[in-house]
């Protein structure tokens, strides 16, 4: 990924899947890496089963907190239906994470989906892995060892898909 270009990541899913936590962790990691970060989301419905989306942008200088259609590099979707709904935001060359939802079945608990996807995302971005771990542990205070392990599994899987 070109360092001077703004990276646009759209996180989406439904209430309770950890959409907002995932984008928070990614935002903190990007900030620690020295980027200007903008994140925008809606609170309130997040824990009530409704659609949840969080726009995350980082780069040298970011203006709008919202991503425009056809402008997302990554659609980190935790739900197939939500991915379909948000598809218009993804660039033609962008990466749709809903194709990896099958991998999640191998996790010991679906609650780790956001951590696993962050691992895959980290494998695609030029942010030091230590910064990711710092960010992860600053937000996820429960089961830190478990989350760290799942993150690393996601990272390894992510590397394997890009090397293909």
């Amino acid at each position: 990924m070109n360092n001077n270009k703004t990276v646009n990541i759209l996180f989406c899913g439904t209430g309770g899947q950890g959409v907002l936590k995932a984008s928070e962790i990614c935002g903190i990691a990007a900030m620690k890496a020295g980027y200007n970060v903008k994140k925008s989301e809606i609170h309130g419905m997040a824990q009530r089963g409704g659609s949840v989306e969080s726009h995350l942008r980082f780069g040298k200088k970011v203006l709008s907190p919202l991503i425009k259609p056809n402008d997302a590099d990554f659609l980190v979707s935790f739900d197939t239906g939500e991915a379909l709904r948000m598809k218009a935001f993804l660039k033609s060359t962008g990466l749709d994470f809903s194709q990896f939802l099958g991998e999640v079945k191998n996790l010991k608990h679906p609650i780790y989906i956001n951590t696993y996807f962050l691992g895959i995302l980290a494998s695609q971005l030029q942010i030091d892995q230590n910064l990711w771990i710092e960010a992860l542990l600053s937000v996820l205070t429960r089961d830190q060892d478990g989350n760290r392990k799942v993150f690393e599994e996601g990272f390894i899987f992510g590397k394997s898909i890009t090397s293909k």
Binding site: T14, G15, E24, G27, I28, M31, N36, V37, K38, K39, S40, E41, I42, H43, G44, M45, Q47, R48, G49, G50, S51, V62, L63, S64, P65, L66, K68, P69, G81, E82, R85, P110, S138, T141
Partner: protein, 589 residues
């Protein structure tokens, strides 16, 4: 110290003290800027998207922060602190400001002693609100200066400037955020706090006692003040001209500025942050300096109307853009004079959480075929199909008063019920209840007591017995309060006792009196204890769909028409068991 919020915001207080770059939302950044400005008192009633301002401020030991009982109370306490000589801040959502309009209008006359900031967060797109009002008009109506930051960093900077303006011009200052500023996050470079000493109590009866003679003289001062502020508006760094291209020039404010820059990085921009009073000369000069002027703003034609008054020829949005949120991709459409084409969002609708006690109440009310006046809170979701058992929702407190009005229109209809949440009842349901008793109204009011302010993220209130910092506070006992209002029939029952609860409503509906039922069961986001999911015997299932009609996220229909219980989601509340007449669902043994 226990914090009851669903979203814990500040894990480590030590990080708040340092000079550092923090990843802050607009709400938090504004709070931080106020803290550094020597703020001492902060008051609010929770309301999306403004809640996190005072929530954030409650993390600082130097600040006396509170969840007030309602917005009027919050405004008056904060104003009192400012009159008393301490820098203070009041925060609310747009509709919250309506509740505080009475003190707001006259505080414009009294002015302040120490700096006083009114923060209001508008919600274009109604992400979590009952209307889409544009608060900028209040600045004209009340003759108060209005500041609109476009990002969290600007919110941090603007509040510091706002305190200076407040004290220089002896005026409350309105800072208006919108959802995309309040709930956006970015890197904010933070500094340290400057202590501002508390001033003496002001001995100036003619300034602070608003009786006709005094108030008339103050009104003269208010008019002079707004003229002085107009002059200030011309020279302040809050209103800046970015002169680039001499062809296209935008006049804009708030988050719209960022959308303009995103789409037209080379265009000239007049960026208004001290939006009101308007900087007429700056606007006219800017318009002359470019070939084509475009005014970009969200919601109402606030800037447009004024720019038009100045005799400037400009392009503005088609009226289709007046409703809903402005989005970055709309800007080129507006410049080209196109209409908004809205596609249905297809967003999944929110539902009451699995195990939510409100679902029991609405299931019973639907079965009893009642007409229900509702109120503001999670329970407004009782209106969504298939529950469809809440029929009105207007504003905070109206669950009680609309109920009375409905009964006055239909004195003999005993099937009318009012519902209101615990926090909402304390906010503004009490006066309505006293009114009902005093005027001999009949009917049934249900207080949906989930022991928290759930919709805004689980804030404490007087009946939880804890204050904003989680410290123990005097616990208001709702049943005692309701009795003191003069209601004779007061019942307290958990709706989880489903049959008993349904029978209780049925009995109270049959009587010719005023009853209050307190449906007490903690919110599932407060009490997360779970019981095993019910067992399902497919052979007994008649595929009647009654279990699906309670709209529980934990139950879904299978392809062959039977149902399945999602054991990951199920909290074991067993409402589905209560409604399943063929007894295909039964309590886990």
């Amino acid at each position: 110290m226990q914090k009851n919020n669903f979203y814990s915001k500040i894990n480590d207080k030590s990080s708040l003290k340092e000079v550092s770059t923090l990843f802050l939302s607009g709400d938090e950044a504004l709070g931080r800027g106020a803290y550094e400005s020597g703020l001492r008192v902060a008051c609010a009633y929770p309301g999306t998207p403004s809640t996190e301002i005072v929530q954030h401020l409650s993390g600082y030991d130097e600040i006396d922060a509170q969840w007030s009982v309602n917005e009027k109370v919050a405004f008056e306490v904060a104003l009192g602190a400012a009159v008393g000589g301490a820098r203070s801040l009041y925060a609310c959502k747009h509709v919250g400001l309506n509740v505080a309009m009475d003190p707001l209008m006259t505080s414009a006359y009294t002015g302040i002693n120490a700096g006083f900031i009114i923060v209001v967060c508008d919600d274009p797109g109604l992400h979590s609100s009952q209307n889409e009002q544009d608060t900028r008009w209040v600045s004209i109506y009340a003759k108060l200066p209005l500041i609109e930051p476009s990002s969290p960093s600007e919110a941090y900077e603007c509040v510091k400037e706002a305190f200076l303006i407040s004290e220089k011009f002896d005026t409350p200052v309105i800072i208006r955020l919108t959802t995309r500023v309040a709930h956006s996050k970015e890197n904010v470079n933070c500094g340290i706090r400057t202590e501002i000493p508390v001033k003496n109590l002001p001995l100036d009866i003619s300034k602070y006692v608003m009786v006709p003679g005094n108030a008339y003289k103050r009104h003269i001062q208010v008019e002079k003040r707004i003229e002085d502020l107009s002059k200030y508006s011309e020279k302040t760094i809050l209103n800046t001209v970015e002169k680039l291209d001499s062809g296209l020039g935008f006049i804009t404010s708030g988050v719209s500025y960022l959308y303009v820059k995103e789409n037209y990085p080379d265009a000239s921009v007049l960026k208004l942050s001290l939006t009101y009073p308007f900087c007429d000369k700056k606007i006219i000069d800017f318009a002359k300096s470019v070939k084509k002027v475009v005014v970009i703003e969200e919601l109402d034609p606030f800037l447009e109307n004024h720019v038009r008054e100045l005799g400037i020829d400009f392009i503005c949005k088609d009226s289709s853009f007046k409703t809903g949120e402005l989005k970055p991709e709309y800007i080129p459409l507006i410049v080209e004079g196109q209409k908004k084409v809205e596609k249905p969002s297809g967003a999944r609708k929110p539902v009451l959480c699995q195990g939510c006690p409100h679902r029991f109440v609405f299931t019973a009310l639907r079965k009893l075929k009642t007409y229900v006046s509702g109120d503001i809170g999670c329970y407004t979701l009782g209106a969504t199909p298939p529950l469809s058992s809440l029929h009105t929702c207007v504003c905070m407190g109206a669950g009680v008063t609309i109920h009375e009005g409905l009964r006055r229109a239909h004195p003999d209809n005993k099937k009318i019920v009012g519902v209101i949440g615990d926090s909402t009842f304390i906010h503004s349901g009490i006066t309505g209840l006293i009114n009902a008793v005093y005027n001999d109204a009949k009917g049934v009011i249900i207080i949906l007591d989930n022991s928290t302010t759930a919709m805004t993220g689980g804030q404490d209130h007087p009946a939880t017995g804890r204050n904003i910092t989680g410290k123990q506070a005097h616990k208001l006992v709702l049943e005692n309060l309701v009795s003191s209002c003069g209601v004779n029939n007061v019942d307290v029952l958990s709706p989880y006792n489903y049959k008993e609860f349904e029978n209780l409503i049925k009995q109270r509906l049959s009587e010719d009196s005023l009853s209050v039922i307190i449906a007490r069961e903690p919110c599932r986001l407060v009490n997360r204890d779970r019981k095993p999911a019910p067992q399902y015997d497919q052979s007994k299932c008649k595929k009647c769909g009654i279990c699906l009609s309670i709209d529980c996220p934990g139950i879904s229909k299978t392809e062959n028409g039977f149902i399945q219980v999602n054991t990951e989601l199920c909290t074991g509340c067993n409402l589905c068991v209560h409604v399943c007449s063929p007894k295909a669902l039964r309590i886990h043994e």
